[in-house]
């Protein structure tokens, strides 16, 4: 279970929080919790991945609650100075692009952030996402498409700004 599910849980948490060290802490917390409460797991109700993702989702909610903030993109993720070296400049642009994508994600409703993170981070299919979030599969499909469109629109706006 660990070898199969740990990378998926980590990717989901990391996608959702945007911070690798926080993702490591939360992933560890998820597996320790799962170990303590494994007797409560019922395979007829959910797959192990779905069960773990539900624990991870609660742990992320607790994390943001503890931190007393909604998800924000940290300033230190942004490039601090502009370099003349093209490779470094490219890297800076890339990191600014990543920061903007994270900002676009953070601007979505919480459930859409979860859908995007479970899809692109954990690589789950719509059925698995629906079971994790306890919504219908068609609802996941609709929300996924609309959330991507909304992010795209927001990202386009930023691209136009930077190109001017």
């Amino acid at each position: 279970m660990y070898d199969t599910c740990m990378p998926r849980v980590y990717r989901y948490v990391s996608y959702r929080t945007g911070n690798p060290s926080v993702a490591e802490d939360i992933t560890a917390e998820v597996f320790e919790k799962a170990l303590r409460h494994f007797d409560n797991y019922r395979k007829e109700k959910a797959s192990q991945a779905t069960w773990l993702m539900a624990i991870a989702r609660n742990a992320i909610t607790d994390y943001f609650r503890r931190e007393g903030r909604v998800q924000v993109v940290r300033e230190e993720d942004a490039p601090e100075e502009v370099s003349e070296v093209p490779a470094v400049e490219e890297q800076m642009e890339r990191s600014e692009e990543v920061r903007q994508l994270r900002l676009c994600l953070a601007g979505l409703p919480k459930i859409d952030q979860d859908i995007i993170s479970l899809k692109f981070g954990a690589g789950m299919n719509n059925r698995e996402i629906a079971r994790t979030l306890q919504v219908s599969e068609s609802n996941v499909g609709t929300r996924l498409y609309r959330a991507v469109q909304r992010m795209r629109e927001a990202f386009k706006g930023w691209e136009h700004e930077t190109q001017r």
Partner: protein
């Protein structure tokens, strides 16, 4: 343009394909849809993988926690429940009961009569109680234990339940205070099938015998190791008598626990057993005498 719900269905299917590293199947006749797919590919780049170092550390931490959890649960279960929860012991108890019952039935049916004289044939003068002056055989056995099967410290080799793996810990029974000491472990497969060990060398806990508290732990390794039938695998650890905070531990009696992560042949599931394999005491040396 395609209807929106068709786009949504197609979009999810295309994303799943892209996530698997395959090409999307959609015909690029819808510019808006094609742009959405391109943007989705950007979103995939936000994905971050866990480092190997983190994966290894977390795995070790979970193995130790699992062993501790098992040990705690084991202690809280009554002895008779523990006895019947182990398939081999349950089988042994049930088989013994059935053999005794079968012998009883045969005895009652008089089918065992030819093996011993019947009461009416033996006559009234035969004594059936043992001679009180004869030394009791069982007491002699318990008084003279089998020294080959004891470690130096009097802890018998620990058998991993339901398997053929024996674990022995060797440590000097009396260690001098603040002197570094070595502990050697032997893993012996006494069966006919190979036994697989994971996280080798295993996690080792040194516990205060009086309080049961762990004073020091050695983290498990990450290797897997198969022990062939009758093979003995040993390894040694050195301990400087310092606790987890880096302070010298107090003189007294200590126990050594080993967390063995092993694969059973029957169900091929990995499981862990925490077992006490040796005890020793740390004593202050009185140099004046």
């Amino acid at each position: 343009m395609r209807p929106r719900d068709e786009n949504e269905r197609q979009f999810a299917a295309d994303i799943d394909r892209l996530l698997r590293g395959e090409e999307s199947l959609s015909v690029q006749d819808d510019a808006d849809y094609a742009e959405a797919l391109q943007f989705a590919q950007r979103l995939m780049q936000l994905r971050d993988e866990p480092t190997e170092q983190f994966a290894g550390k977390l795995r070790n931490r979970l193995v130790v926690k699992l062993a501790e959890q098992d040990a705690r649960q084991e202690k809280s279960v009554p002895w008779f429940v523990r006895l019947f929860s182990r398939p081999s012991l349950r089988l042994a108890v049930v088989s013994t009961f059935m053999v005794v019952a079968a012998v009883g039935l045969l005895w009652r049916a008089d089918l065992l009569a030819p093996l011993s004289p019947r009461a009416d044939e033996a006559g009234p003068g035969i004594m059936t109680t043992p001679d009180p002056s004869a030394p009791p055989e069982t007491e002699e056995r318990t008084a003279a234990p089998d020294n080959d099967m004891l470690t130096m410290e009097g802890v018998p080799p620990a058998a991993v339940p339901d398997t053929t793996l024996m674990v022995v810990g060797h440590v000097p029974p009396h260690a001098a205070y603040s002197e570094p000491m070595s502990i050697t472990f032997e893993f012996r497969n006494e069966g006919t099938e190979p036994v697989s060990l994971a996280f080798f060398p295993p996690a080792v806990h040194i516990r205060d015998a009086a309080t049961g508290d762990i004073v020091y732990s050695f983290a498990p390794g990450e290797r897997s190791h198969a022990i062939r039938p009758m093979e003995v695998r040993s390894y040694r650890i050195d301990w400087d008598q310092q606790d987890l905070q880096g302070s010298q531990v107090q003189p007294g009696r200590y126990m050594i626990d080993v967390a063995v992560a092993e694969q059973t042949v029957a169900d091929e599931r990995w499981r862990t057993e925490m077992m006490t394999v040796a005890t020793f005491s740390i004593e202050t040396v009185n140099s004046g005498d």
